[in-house]
């Protein structure tokens, strides 16, 4: 392996970068707000985690870039960590110095530089002592991060799982309490009283959770891993060829029961969150066909969501404002999907000859045009203009009116299962292979006998169908829809979640939706910083794991193949 060289300057540069990040989180008020959420009483808040996250991140990159041995990692971690403390220290001196305060007050310019922020940077100590503590703390965190990166994955994985789960439970203590509260006979309430004080974990409970998680993970990793028993791993071929083995059957049964009981276990608020996640899973699966399978970058995907929603609305609304037909949900549903498919094809035809960026720009335009048309006075007699469509019918299922988050959850669950099944079958079908060939090379695919027009339009149509279904369910849930609900952000969200999850991967869509749709809903109190965190996540993902959380087989191979060719080239270069 090639020796990694670096100079002191490199380390200092990285440290300064970490310092900028740490300063930035403070100057925009994020640290102070996050500090109010206590994870583990009395000493660890979300703000502390954020304070150290800049250092952890930057040390991660620095160690991967520069350090090949453990000693080096130690040094890199310590130096980068310590240097990261510089700007916050400078800031707290500026903010506390009487001399400077006479000249100008920093708060006049940067409103978020409060006494509280300085206190966070100084751990509530005197400026000089506090600064030293910050340097030492950052250096220690840097070293720990470096050591962590260099340890054996056998130890790293359990530790990571333990930390993530403990902090997660601390962060979502309210949601956990609520879920536990729904357990029968008050068992849950006693458990949550044991776990939490003042909505945060106690030191003891945090330790127990950490040790349990780490221990279980370690134990599971030590077990001999035969391909079958490992994790949750179903392939369609396996099931149709061999049937399910016992362990898989049990796993599947547990998952089914949990999915069915979920809304009653988690309560109304979390059911609504799950509903939103489910909607985006539906859309993500559809967009995944267009982008992941067929390789067509579509940024106007929200249009089909809107078509589904508006068709459902117009056909079922009970007001006289819109010329509603007063149909019921189930009669209107096929029309909603059909209209979406129809427009999928209509909007697909003009872009048949476009590729890549051009396609992206034009579809982006289409998405906006549809929203503006819905808003226009011209179509107001049908679509309601800015007033939207009101009083959309709720689905009635065997005499039960569905409208609550809990019941509508079942709607998206059923939709997601159906659509997921269709997506899997499509991927392995003849059409799936046509898409794959087309994505790889349009000319060669055509020379191979593949009808590009038909293949592309099929992708647009099926993608639109899934999105239309999501739209129809959405409008039945919210009962009133307005043009501004169908903005560009929905397309971007759907695209981001399949990228983060892993392009072309079905489990990836689920994970992506949970992370990009579910988490922000749970962290509403920090919604001010939602887009910032979103952006950071996307950038970090692209740097660290560009293939997504759960990459599809073909994209994984692609990345591996690139590495292979690179090493081959290296080998050739060194041998010659």
């Amino acid at each position: 392996m090639e020796e990694k060289t670096y100079t002191w300057r490199d380390l200092i540069n990285y440290g300064l970068l970490g310092s900028v990040v740490t300063l930035y989180f403070g100057m925009i008020g994020m640290l102070e707000l996050f500090d109010e959420r206590i994870l583990i009483t009395p000493f660890l808040s979300l703000g502390d985690v954020l304070l150290f996250s800049g250092v952890i991140g930057i040390v991660f990159f620095a160690v991967n870039k520069f350090a090949s041995s453990l000693n080096e990692a130690f040094k890199v971690g310590a130096v980068v960590g310590a240097v990261s403390a510089i700007f916050p220290i400078v800031l707290s001196f500026i903010a506390t110095s009487e001399l400077i305060a006479e000249q100008f007050v920093i708060r006049d310019v940067f409103v978020s530089v409060t006494d509280r922020l300085v206190e966070i940077y100084n751990f509530g100590l005197e400026p000089i002592v506090g600064s030293l503590v910050l340097i030492v703390a950052f250096a220690i965190v840097g070293v720990l991060t470096a050591l962590f990166i260099k340890t054996d994955p056998k130890i790293e994985r359990p530790l990571l799982m333990g930390i993530v789960l403990t902090l997660g439970i601390g962060l979502f203590s309210e949601n956990v309490t609520q879920i536990l509260g729904n357990l029968p006979a008050g068992i849950g309430r006693s458990i949550s009283r044991l776990l939490f004080t003042n909505k945060a974990l106690t030191i003891v409970s945090a330790l127990i959770i950490f040790l349990l998680t780490a221990g279980i993970t370690y134990w599971r990793m030590r077990r001999p891993t035969t391909g079958e028993s490992r994790g949750f791993n179903f392939s369609f071929e396996d099931i149709s060829n061999r049937g399910l083995n016992r362990a898989q059957m049990i796993q599947l049964a547990i998952v089914a029961v949990v999915l069915l009981l979920l809304p009653w276990m988690v309560g109304s608020f979390l059911s609504q969150v799950l509903f939103n996640v489910g909607l985006f899973i539906l859309m993500g699966l559809g967009l995944n066909i267009v982008v992941g399978y067929a390789g067509l970058l579509d940024l106007g995907y929200v249009a089909f969501f809107a078509f589904g929603a508006y068709t459902m609305g117009i056909l079922t609304t009970a007001t006289s404002l819109n010329p509603g037909l007063g149909l019921n949900f189930w009669t209107a549903l096929p029309f909603a999907i059909l209209i979406a498919v129809m427009f999928g094809i209509i909007l697909g035809v003009p872009v048949l000859n476009m590729r890549g960026d051009y396609l992206a720009i034009v579809t982006l335009g289409f998405g906006e045009i549809i929203r503006i048309l819905a808003l226009s006075d011209w179509l107001a007699p049908v679509m309601g203009g800015a007033q939207g469509v009101l009083k959309i019918a709720k689905p009635v299922f065997f005499g039960v009116e569905m409208g609550s988050p809990e019941t509508m959850y079942y709607m998206v669950l059923a939709g997601s299962l159906l659509v997921g099944f269709v997506a899997i079958r499509l991927r392995d079908s003849r059409l799936g292979r046509q898409w794959m060939a087309m994505r790889e090379d349009e000319d060669v695919a055509e020379a191979m006998g593949i009808n590009l027009v038909q293949t592309k339009l099929m992708a647009f149509a099926i993608g639109a169908a899934f999105s239309g279904l999501a739209g129809a369910i959405f409008s039945a849930r919210v009962n009133n829809i307005f043009p501004h609900s169908f903005n560009l952000l929905i397309s971007i969200n759907a695209l981001s979640l399949i990228i983060v999850g892993g392009i072309g991967s079905i489990p990836g869509v689920i994970i992506g939706a949970l992370v990009l749709v579910g988490l922000p809903e749970l962290l509403r109190e920090f919604s001010e910083y939602r887009l910032l965190m979103y952006g950071i996540l996307l950038i970090v993902m692209m740097l660290v794991r560009p293939e997504g959380f759960i990459p599809a087989e073909i994209y994984k191979r692609e990345l591996r193949a690139d590495e292979e060719t690179e090493t081959e080239i290296e080998a050739q270069v060194t041998s010659s």
Binding site: R430, R433, Q434, M436, A437, E440, D441, D443, V444, E446, A447, M448, G449, I450, N451, L452, I554, R557, E558, A561, E564, T565, E568
Partner: protein, 237 residues
Amino acid sequence: MAMLEVNDIHTYYGNIHALKGISITVEEGEIVTLIGANGAGKTTTLRTISGLLKPRQGNVTLWGEDIVQYAAHEVVFQGVAMVPEGRGVFAKLSVKENLEMGAYSRKAGSGIRQDMDRMFALFPRLEERIGQLAGTLSGGEQQMVATARALMARPKLLLMDEPSMGLAPILVDGIFDTIKEINQEGTTVLLVEQNALMALSIANRGYVLQTGEVVISDSAENLKVNETVQKAYLGID
């Protein structure tokens, strides 16, 4: 009736008049070669025959049936397969998947297994590399994949665009041997080459293209001793 007749085709790229009235005939069982310098219009001719480009004037008939009316993917169903210039393998698919893709135009399942075995008999290298990604193969191996993939469609007529391009001389011999073998097994071949000497050594007849026109057409033997050809393409003074 000739198998393939290209009658006076004019093909354009926008305003660029790339083919200015090309006429070619290929009889069943032959190897016919198109030679000519870079930019002469060889690739354009093949792409017009395979339906990827439409001529503005003239027609292409296969067994007397006009195939200009067909889209590229339909031409494949008429029994014409192409090995594109620069090979054009599906880089991210395995060798096996590439070959399966080639059988795409056929009814599913009918003899694909046997055909694949035939390809492995023709190209033993590919069997060793069956699971490897086509993009990671060497140039010669990629050429094999592209050729085998085209043959998987069981074409009557195989169009090959510069199969020797970019290959080491030692591999070029092998490629031409294979083309002869394919031909002997009953596939008619229309071969585009810049390596005129090699092409003429296996072909029955040849056409020389120059700036979108056929300037000479003759039997391979005659072309080899033709003065113009020798000067321009065989490097003999």
